[in-house]
Amino acid sequence: MELIKNTNINFLDKRKYWYIFSLLIIIAGMFLITLKGEKNFGVDFVGGDLINIEINRKTDVQSLRKIINEIKIGSFTVQELGIEGKNFIIRLPQNTSDRVIEKLKENFGEGILIKGVSVVSPSMSITLRKKAIKAFLIGLIGILIYLTIRFEFRFAVAATIAIFHDILVVLSFLAFTGKQIDGFVLAALLTIAGYSVNDTVVIFDRIRENLRKTRSTDYLTIFNKSINETLSRTILTVLTTLFVVLTIFFFGGETLHTFAFCLIVGFIFGTYSSIFIASAIVIDWLKKSSARLKL
């Protein structure tokens, strides 16, 4: 079977619109993130308590909120897991989990199961934040070093911009959907960066191969041809990886939910950016300089 047969799509002609499309998402996302401030981050990055409970009779977020509100602890969130009205995650301010658990036990007695508790102090959250950022930066630098070794300067810069594009888009989507940034998200972002590069590399490799075959400077045609030739692979690979992250998203449970969400958005936009951002930028750059591309 072949899904994609000898396509001849002019991907890069309307690239200005794609730039604008991406910029709009990113600007809106960054605006929302700035607006939300600390609320963007999970407990491991800002400190706080988190309880994971299961109640043996059907209840809802509202009634749980009411019970917890009876002891004054400041702002907290209750999130339902699944649809049975039995599993909940409660995010609480620093060091209030013991009191909340006591209160819940008073209310539900034996009917409540405390499945998990995390308590993160501010000093630990600073450490976790620093560690995660360090891992993220080292990973990113590793990828960038690899890119500069592997490619001509302009290609490397374009691929780098594509990486940042993907990361910012994913962060924006997290903000749009009200999901929190935590250690898992940074791990996902790094995975996306790796994926984005590898997708870009395959297209750039083909562009290079085709450039060597011809003496033409009609870059738009050569680039479009290369993208079309690799399109089948591009789509197949994003499909197989998406199959997997979609099943993780739907069946993997709460812990992996945001992680899988990032990967879904990231893989889609990582594929998109290889064509509409990375390749597009190289074309615009080549058009500006009169010298023929040396490879």
Binding site: M1, E2, N52, E54, L113, I114, K115, G116, V117, S118, V119, S121, S123, M124, L128, K131, A132, K134, A135, I138, G139, G142, I143, Y146, G183, F184, A187, L190, T191, A193, G194, Y195, N198, V201, V202, D205, E229, T230, S232, R233, L236, T237, L239, T240, T241, L242, F243, V244, V245, L246, T247, I248, F250, F251, G252, G253, T255, L256, F259, L263
Partner: protein, 440 residues
């Protein structure tokens, strides 16, 4: 030619055998992380005194670590992890611990035991209650249990600040029962401690001796006679659990510094099981969809890619078991992701073969060219993922480490299975069967 194939198949089959042996049965051979097993993960930070230098702080942490290790050993947790992080932090992982709160209490308790003489002078005591505490004395509250078993402060005692004796002379501590049937804690002192205790009791007959634990008076019995032999008892209407706990912490000695729990994660056993089920289910579904899709799309070659995928996972699990790598929930996600990404190498190769066939080459030549020309792209795409995997393994925290680990091993194994193994099989079929047309 033939012997070359035998050799190649020999390698592949022995690798399958070794990996299978390494990881089977998986419940026993694969090491589960704390998140999958349930348990407690805590990070303790030493409360720093002012102007303590780095060297002393680090030594202090070492001593704290040793004491915590003794306490955990007494709890009987299997395979605990206790390690120092930086200068002033101690990480404790207790997999599968039944009563997390109890474990946390035992680990974090300072357990500074002091014997302090009570000042019996009424006048001084009254003055102290009015706020005029004499030099060298302090007011400490006696905490006792009420009818409901909750500790309440009862009345204050005026005691000498300087203790007569501390817990550092204790050589053993164990639970016993007092005359009324309540559990108590029996102490055995060393020679030096025995001598001091004998002297103190001998000199202060009639006075009360307060037994102070972490700044709270547990009991203040009256000294009736000189006590030789170095034996003392702490009473206080303990429950059996409390007495056992207290005995453990006293036996292991007092912590030389106060500790703050700055991170605490308790994962109940049900949650761990749920994680395993969920993670396994998600990975399985993902893998099945990929497997079906590949056959659907590439026919026989799809089967080949699926075989490579199965082998890839087998090798991944084998290596995980072999190096005793820890499997975490994100680690399972990493295995699933490997399934999705692993077929990429075969997709690259197969697409290339299709192109070569279209350009009119013979099957054999197309296959060779396909593998050859896809190789650089495969290396390229795997290298970035390997970089990410290694970084997450080295610098990632807790469960994320597991993700980095499975991703790295999975992708490295992928180079072998998707390229070497499939090429060997394809070559063998094409040459042996003298195939002149292929469908892909």
């Amino acid at each position: 030619m033939k012997t070359q194939f035998y050799f190649k198949f020999g390698i592949i089959i022995s690798i399958i055998g070794v990996c299978f042996y390494l990881f089977y049965p998986p419940e026993k051979k694969l090491k589960k992380g704390l998140d999958l097993q349930g348990g407690v993960h805590i990070v303790l930070e030493i409360v720093k005194e002012e102007n303590i230098d780095k060297k002393n702080l680090s030594d202090l942490a070492d001593r704290v670590l040793e004491i915590i290790r003794n306490r955990i050993d007494a709890l009987g947790v299997t395979e605990p992890i206790i390690q120092k992080e930086g200068m002033d932090r101690i990480i404790v992982d207790l997999p599968g611990v039944k009563d997390p709160q109890k474990a946390i209490d035992i680990i974090g308790k300072t357990a500074l035991l002091e014997f302090k003489l009570v000042e019996e002078d009424e006048k001084l005591y009254k003055q102290a209650l009015e706020g005029k505490i004499p030099e060298g004395y302090e007011l400490l509250y006696l905490k006792e249990k009420d009818e409901r078993g909750i500790y309440r402060e009862t009345y204050p005692l005026l005691v000498k600040k300087e203790p007569e004796l501390t817990g550092k002379y204790i050589v053993d501590a164990y639970m016993g029962y007092d005359a009324t049937g309540f559990p108590d804690v029996n102490l055995v002192l060393n020679d030096e401690g025995s001598k001091i205790f004998e002297e103190v009791t001998g000199k202060n007959i009639g006075k009360r001796l307060a037994i102070v634990l972490d700044g709270v008076v547990k009991s203040a019995p009256q000294i009736k006679e000189r006590i030789p032999g170095g034996k003392a008892v702490i009473t206080g209407k303990f429950t059996k659990d409390e007495a056992v706990e207290l005995a453990i912490v006293l036996r292991s000695g007092a912590l030389p510094a106060k500790l703050n729990i700055i991170y605490r994660e308790v994962i109940g056993p049900t949650l761990g099981k749920e994680y395993i089920q969920r993670g396994f289910k998600a990975s399985l579904y993902g893998a099945i969809i990929v497997v079906i899709f590949m056959v659907f799309y590439y026919l026989h070659f799809g089967l080949l890619a699926d075989f490579a995928l199965a082998l890839n996972i087998l090798i991944l699990l084998g290596i995980m078991a072999g190096i005793k790598g820890v499997l975490t929930l994100p680690g399972i996600a990493g295995i699933a992701l490997t399934c999705g990404m692993a077929v990429d190498a075969n997709v690259l190769i197969f697409e290339r073969i299709r192109e070569e066939l279209k350009s009119g080459k013979s099957p054999k030549a197309s296959i060779d060219a396909g593998y050859h020309r896809a190789w650089t792209a495969i290396i390229d795409s795997n290298i970035t993922t390997i970089i990410v995997g290694i970084v997450l393994f080295i610098f990632g925290e807790g469960p994320i480490k597991g993700f980095g680990l499975t991703l790295t091993i999975g992708i490295i194994a992928n180079l072998f299975t998707a390229v070497y193994v499939t090429k060997t099989i394809v070559d063998w079929i094409v040459i042996n069967r003298k195939i002149e047309r292929i469908r892909i």
